[in-house]
């Protein structure tokens, strides 16, 4: 699981010659499957309202999809560490990790609620959070490999897959996408970055990201990875039809659960 930056990079990139050929009908087939699965859930007359946004949080049983994740210390840490990850991938350096992370949140108006949460956080909890962020940053700069610009890295890459004429939108942010778009062979690796502990459901999340990337790009990624900034470990999975099929079923199931919850909250 461990190893230095070079070993980690090798796990993300794999052997280029052994990457699978792309089935040109796969992405379209998955989209049709998703469309069929949600077709009876939203009446066409409902087209005027805002779409139901289904993200990874909405797929969690019991979630309230309209609320999104509540701001907690864990979410704040995730966003701060995520910003540092993005900074390190793009610039190759981190200065004062807490100052850099706070500056990153401050410059983006979508993170205003997190800044407000941090302002209200008791001093001891804020200090603890800052210590955690600094520890993650230390590990990041020693464990994460430099990414060659030629691999065309994209960070915080947004994906949205509209279904049912746009009335349902599957949505995700890919923390890191490596590799040029696919031609005949799968060529992309998608990395999800986590600042929390390793959990079993992270695999489901990762498969959801892989499904969305497949439908968006017209070709599946050859590999999916979860990078844990607390330990520097990475879990990787090769993408195959079975993985994507499971993700379709789970997504349809999640949309079925999310829709009544969204209606009830409206």
């Amino acid at each position: 699981m461990g190893g230095g930056p070079a070993a980690l990079l090798a796990r993300l990139r794999g052997d280029a010659a052994r990457r699978p050929l792309v089935d040109p009908g796969l992405a379209g087939g998955l989209r049709e499957w998703l469309e069929d699965g949600v077709a009876d859930l939203v009446p066409e007359r409902a087209a005027a309202g805002p779409p139901l946004i289904v993200d990874r949080w909405a797929l969690v049983p019991g979630a309230r999809p309209v609320d999104g994740p509540a701001v907690t210390t864990a979410l704040a840490r995730d966003l701060m560490v995520g910003a540092l990850f993005r900074q390190f991938v793009v610039t190759g350096r981190i200065g004062d990790p807490v100052a850099d992370a706070l500056a990153a949140l401050r410059v983006d108006d979508r993170d205003d609620s997190v800044m407000e949460f941090l302002r209200r956080l008791p001093l001891d909890e804020r200090s603890s959070l800052h210590r955690q962020v600094a520890a993650h940053a230390r590990l990041l700069v020693t464990r994460w490999p430099p990414v060659a610009p030629g691999w065309l890295p994209k960070t915080a890459d947004r994906v949205s897959v509209p279904l049912a004429g746009g009335r349902i939108v599957l949505s995700a942010v890919l923390d890191l996408v490596l590799g040029a778009p696919a031609g005949d062979r799968a060529s992309v690796c998608v990395v999800d970055v986590r600042s929390g502990e390793r959990r079993a459901e992270h695999r489901d999340d990762l498969h959801f990201l892989g499904l969305l990337e497949t439908v968006r790009a017209g070709a599946p990624p050859f590999r999916l990875a979860t990078y844990y900034t607390a330990t520097g470990e990475v879990d990787v999975e090769d993408v195959d039809d079975a993985l994507l099929s499971e993700a379709v079923l789970r997504t349809i199931d999640g949309v079925r659960r999310a829709l009544p919850a969204a209606k009830a909250a409206a």
């Binding site: 040109p24 850099d100 410059v107 983006d108 065309l152 890295p153």
Partner: protein
């Protein structure tokens, strides 16, 4: 959501998109029909637009919010953020990638940003410009701007097979403006991320759009062509406009014909009518733009 036109199974996507951009141009609309369209648009705007006060600027964002989409963003004051600054850095970066030197989008964004910051340090950047803003940011914030611009530029760089182009495209050329003639304070802004000269004359315009195609997607793309038609009456109009939504991997390829131009002109007039509000109310039917019979 509007239907989009690239086959999902065709890979790589850039080949299909480049084929669509570079395919031979169809016949341009008749000059007389374009003259009639200009006159109708000017008359429609004169009927509904403000006669005085600040100039009402209509761009693709205004057309989107006029349909009710993205309504939350409509009243928000503009501020520089990684998202609002990414195009400025992104188009400059792609231009650098295309002139040679083997730069990648990430390297080119870093170089473009460094140049802007250097300009600001030497007093060459006006207040409120991206350069001045970027130079004022601490390292952590500036890194997010670079990251966002790199992702944007990489999407544009990956969208087209640039090596196939016989003539260099104009990437990130300045926006084009048209001030409505007469006593009406309305200006239209046309923006394309890249303009591709076509064999035999004419241009294809490519615009990369965030999110997913919405109800106003056609007219948002059509606006760049409409501004070309009204602002440069002696030039050949663009032959097609192509919208590319990298977030959902969809493209919309539209021939610039009288149907698209008239539909766009109608939406512009309606957006002006709404924006002008009670300054100069007018019934909707006054601003309808009909396709001339010659079409």
């Amino acid at each position: 959501m509007i239907p989009t036109t690239l086959p999902a199974a065709a890979l790589p996507r850039a080949r299909t998109l480049t084929d669509a951009l570079l395919s031979p141009a169809g016949p341009a609309p008749a000059p007389a029909a374009l003259d009639a369209l200009r006159a109708r648009l000017a008359a429609g705007l004169a009927a509904v637009g403000p006669a005085s006060g600040p100039v009402l600027r209509i761009d693709a964002f205004a057309l989107r919010t006029a349909t009710g989409a993205d309504a939350g963003a409509a009243g928000r004051p503009f501020r520089w953020t990684p998202r609002t600054a990414r195009r400025t850095l992104g188009v400059a970066a792609v231009r650098h990638c295309l002139v040679g030197g083997g730069r990648t989008p990430a390297e080119a964004v870093a170089a473009s940003a460094a140049r802007l910051v250097e300009d600001a340090r030497h007093g060459l950047a006006r207040r409120g410009t991206p350069a001045a803003w970027l130079a004022s940011l601490p390292g952590g914030a500036r890194a997010q701007v670079l990251a966002e611009a790199t992702t944007w530029a990489t999407h544009l760089y990956e969208a087209v097979e640039w090596h196939r182009l016989a003539r260099p495209p104009a990437v990130g050329a300045p926006d084009r403006w048209w001030d409505c003639p007469g006593p009406v304070a309305v200006a239209l802004r046309g923006r394309a991320d890249a303009r591709f000269p076509l064999p035999g004359g004419g241009e294809a315009l490519l615009t990369m759009v965030a999110g997913r195609p919405g109800p106003s997607g056609r007219v948002e793309l059509g606006l760049a062509a409409l501004v070309d038609v009204v602002a440069r009456p002696t030039a050949r109009p663009p032959s097609r406009v192509v919208g590319w939504w990298p977030e959902c991997g969809r493209a919309l390829v539209l021939a610039v014909d009288l149907g698209l131009l008239s539909e766009t002109a109608g939406s512009v007039t309606e957006a002006v009518r709404r924006a002008a509000g009670d300054r100069r109310p007018g019934p909707v039917h006054e601003c309808a733009i009909e396709v001339p019979a010659a079409a």
